[in-house]
C-alpha cells in the first residue's frame, strides 16, 4: 500500500472545465428524464387503476418488469435495438428515453399513493354531479393527489441524477464520460474520478436537503 499519492493540482485544474461541461449534460439529461418520468408515470398510474382488467393487468406487469430489471440493460437495449427497427435517435435522446421509462415505474407508485389518499367521497361526489371520467380526473382527483406527492418525486429526481452516468456507456459525454476520457487520455485516473465524485456530492447533498425541507413544509400543511 502506498497512500502517498501525489495529487496533481495542475492536471485537476486542466480537466475541470471538461468535467463541468459534462456535468451540465448530466443535469440536462436528469431534467428531461424526470419530466418524461412524471408524464409517463401518471399515465401508468391511471391505466393501472382502470376498471377494464385487460388494461390494468398488463400495465401492472409491465411496471413490475421494468422496475425489477437493470436500467443499464434497458439502456443498451434501446441503444442497439431501436436502429434495427429504423428508429434513429441520438444517444442523448435514447438515454433520456431509458431514464424516463425506468423511473416512470417508480413515479407511478408515488402517484398511486397520492391518488389513494384522495377520500372516496370525492369520487362519489363526482359521480353524483355526473362529471365525465376525464373531468373527474383532471379537475377533482389529480389536483388533490399531486401536490402531496411532490417531495417523493423530488427523491426520485435525486436518485435519477445519480444514474445518469450510465449514459457514458452509450457514448454520451456526461460528467463520467468526460472523466473516463480524461483517464484514458492521460493515464491518470485518480484526479478525474475523484473530481467526478466530488461534483456529485456538491450537487446531490444540497438537493437531498432541499427535498427533505420540502417534505417537512408540506407535512406541516393541513
Amino acid at each position: 500500500m502506498d497512500l502517498t499519492y501525489e495529487w496533481d493540482w495542475e492536471y485537476a485544474w486542466e480537466i475541470l472545465p471538461d468535467l463541468l461541461d459534462g456535468l451540465w449534460i448530466t443535469i440536462q439529461a436528469t431534467f428531461f428524464g424526470i419530466i418524461l418520468a412524471m408524464i409517463l408515470g401518471l399515465a401508468f398510474a391511471i391505466l393501472r387503476r382502470s376498471e377494464v382488467r385487460a388494461i390494468s393487468w398488463p400495465t401492472a406487469w409491465v411496471i413490475e418488469f421494468i422496475r425489477s430489471t437493470p436500467l443499464l440493460v434497458q439502456l443498451f437495449m434501446l441503444f442497439y435495438v431501436l436502429p434495427h427497427y429504423g428508429i434513429r435517435i441520438d444517444a442523448f435522446t435514447t438515454g433520456v428515453l431509458a431514464l424516463g421509462i425506468h423511473y416512470a415505474t417508480y413515479t407511478s407508485e408515488v402517484y398511486r399513493s397520492g391518488i389513494e389518499g384522495v377520500p372516496r367521497g370525492q369520487w362519489e361526489a363526482s359521480t353524483a354531479l355526473n362529471l365525465s371520467t376525464m373531468t373527474t380526473w383532471s379537475r377533482v382527483i389529480l389536483p388533490q393527489a399531486i401536490p402531496v406527492v411532490i417531495p417523493s418525486l423530488g427523491n426520485y429526481l435525486v436518485a435519477m441524477f445519480k444514474e445518469v452516468p450510465l449514459l457514458a456507456f452509450i457514448t454520451v459525454f456526461d460528467v463520467l464520460g468526460e472523466g473516463k476520457a480524461a483517464c484514458t487520455r492521460n493515464f491518470q485516473c485518480v484526479e478525474p474520478y475523484t473530481l467526478v465524485g466530488v461534483l456529485f456530492l456538491i450537487v446531490s447533498i444540497p438537493s437531498s436537503i432541499l427535498v427533505r425541507q420540502l417534505e417537512v413544509r408540506l407535512a406541516r400543511q393541513p
Binding site: 500500500m1 502506498d2 497512500l3 499519492y5 418488469f65 425489477s68 430489471t69 437493470p70 436500467l71 443499464l72 440493460v73 434497458q74 443498451f76 437495449m77 442497439y80 435495438v81 434495427h84 445519480k162 444514474e163 445518469v164 452516468p165 450510465l166 456507456f169 463520467l176 472523466g179 473516463k180 483517464c183 491518470q188 485516473c189 485518480v190 474520478y193 475523484t194 467526478v196 465524485g197 456529485f200 456530492l201 446531490s204 447533498i205 437531498s208
Partner: protein, 223 residues
C-alpha cells in the same frame, strides 16, 4: 431460439450475477446492521462517523464509486480484482441505504419493550439481540427486499469493469453477432426478472418465518 452454447454463455453470466449479488448482499446486510446501530449510538462521534459514511455513499453514484475503486485505487497501490471491487462497492452502497431501514425499524419497536427489558435487568447487548432486533427484523424485511432487488439491478454495473456477468455476456454475444440483438436483450431482461421474482419469494418466506409468534408479523394486525 438460441443454440445451446449461447444459452450456456448466458447461464454462465447469470451464475456470476448471482454470485456478485449474494456476496454483496452479505456484506451489505452486515454493514446495514452495523451502520443502523451506529446511527442509534449514544456516542456522538460514532453517530457522526456513520453519517459521513451514509451521506458519502448515498450522495455519489454507484457507478462512480465502482470506477473510483477499480480504476483510481490502484494508484494508491491497492488493486482489487473485478469481483472484489464489484462486491465491495455494491456492498458499501447497499449498506448506506440499509442503514436507514435498520434504524427506522429498531426505532419503531415500542419503547415499552426496552423499558421492560431494563426492568428485568437484561444487559444492553442481550436486549438488542433477543428482544428488540427480532421484532424489528419483521418490519425491516419488506424494504430490505426492495434493497436486494435494487442490488440485483446494480450488479449489472460490474459488466463495465470486465466481470463476465449476464450483461457482459449479452454484450459479447451482441458484438459477435451470434444472435439477434432484440432476442439477446429480451432474454437477459427475462432472466433478471426471474431472479428478482426469486428474491421476492425468498423475502416473503422469510417474513412468514420471522413473523411466527409475533404480533406484528404478516396476517396479524398491528395494535
Amino acid at each position: 431460439m438460441l443454440e445451446w452454447n449461447l444459452w450456456r454463455a448466458l447461464l454462465d453470466g447469470t451464475w456470476i450475477t448471482v454470485q456478485v449479488t449474494v456476496l454483496a448482499a452479505l456484506l451489505g446486510t452486515i454493514l446495514s446492521i452495523l451502520s443502523g446501530l451506529a446511527g442509534l449510538s449514544s456516542v456522538r462521534a460514532v453517530r457522526w462517523a456513520n453519517q459521513v459514511y451514509v451521506d458519502f455513499f448515498r450522495g455519489t453514484s454507484a457507478i462512480v464509486q465502482l470506477f473510483w475503486i477499480f480504476f483510481a485505487l490502484p494508484f494508491f497501490g491497492i488493486s482489487l480484482s473485478p469481483l472484489l471491487a464489484g462486491v465491495v462497492t455494491l456492498g458499501l452502497n447497499m449498506g448506506s441505504y440499509g442503514s436507514e431501514v435498520v434504524r427506522g425499524a429498531i426505532r419503531a419497536v415500542p419503547r415499552g419493550q426496552t423499558e421492560a427489558a431494563i426492568a428485568l435487568n437484561v444487559t444492553s447487548f442481550d436486549r438488542m439481540r433477543y428482544i428488540i432486533f427480532p421484532q424489528a427484523a419483521v418490519t425491516m424485511l419488506p424494504p430490505y427486499g426492495n434493497l436486494l432487488i435494487e442490488l440485483l439491478k446494480a450488479s449489472a454495473l460490474v459488466s463495465l469493469i470486465t466481470l463476465s456477468d449476464l450483461t457482459f455476456q449479452v454484450q459479447i454475444l451482441r458484438v459477435n453477432g451470434s444472435a439477434s440483438t432484440t432476442q439477446l436483450f429480451t432474454i437477459a431482461l427475462v432472466l433478471y426478472f426471474l431472479l428478482a421474482m426469486g428474491i421476492t419469494g425468498l423475502v416473503r418466506a422469510a417474513e412468514g418465518y420471522l413473523g411466527r409468534g409475533l404480533e406484528i408479523g404478516r396476517g396479524a394486525r398491528r395494535s
